[in-house]
Amino acid sequence: MATMGGDRRQMMEDVAEDKFPEGLRILVVDDDRVCLMVLEALLRRCKYQPTTVMDAKTALRMLMAGKQQFDLVITDVRMPDMDGFKLLELIRLEMDLPVIMLSVDCDKKVVMKGIEHGASDFMVKPVRTHELKN
């Protein structure tokens, strides 16, 4: 991903090498309660620490408030109050957090859009355990 900065690449490599094994603090953003429930359980099973929110604005408020620290954000591409890509952009501007985009479709255009906006990775629903471990 040519658009990724050096720091982010290092962080993604760290994640890939499992330098952030247990306790990874993940903020999950999705307006679908069912998806959130399953994803949260999946992340806990992987020994991560997920926090779930249902809309982008709440996610941003939590991130800005800084009361809770997060290592990673996973967000759905499509949400009612704010486009997932917009959220991605805002997170990238404000803080140096890797963001994984989550989508129902594997539409190439959507994936490219994610990469262009600076997404660290892209996952297609339904998410499987082995994908999260990577």
Partner: protein, 152 residues
């Protein structure tokens, strides 16, 4: 051995749901997430799914009435429903959702109406089958009882 029998019935029902394409592997993934801390996780997720999906189905119905030929709007609603279907492995229902979206893409209102009826039908069928499945499991009791022979 009543519990073992119920358990067998539940397993058999589940197998048939897979064989007939109602459910896919994602459902196993959901059941897999059950543990001592969340012993009823699968049932809770499925229950939430039917609550939310019923609402989404109503939204689509209303949208189709209130905004005739607003295919983008109909499609956006169906996208939401599809996302939920994916999360629990509701395969057949998902297929009908896709057909609906295809009709939206073709701007085929009659096609949309037809496929929407199918979505509602699959929704109702799946709900009934999964309710039976979880009822059998509840009657069969916790898994521990089944793995300790002679304890009943």
């Amino acid at each position: 051995m009543e519990y073992a029998n119920l358990r067998r019935q539940a397993a058999s029902l589940k197998r048939s749901l897979f064989d007939q394409g109602y459910l896919d592997e994602q459902f196993c993934q959901v059941e897999d997430l059950q543990d001592e801390a969340s012993p009823n996780f699968a049932e809770e997720v499925v229950s939430l799914f039917f609550k939310d999906s019923a609402r989404l189905v109503t939204n689509i119905e209303q949208a189709m009435e209130k905004y005739p030929k607003d295919f983008n709007r109909w499609d956006a609603h169906m996208q939401q429903l599809r996302g939920s279907c994916f999360s629990i492995g509701a395969s057949k229902m998902n297929n009908e959702c896709t057909s609906f979206r295809n009709s939206c893409g073709e701007e085929n209102a009659e096609g949309c109406r037809r496929t929407f009826q199918k979505v509602k039908r699959e929704h109702a069928i799946l709900r009934q089958k999964l309710e039976s499945y979880f009822q059998l499991l509840r009657q069969a009791g916790p898994a521990r009882a089944a793995t300790r022979p002679g304890s009943m």
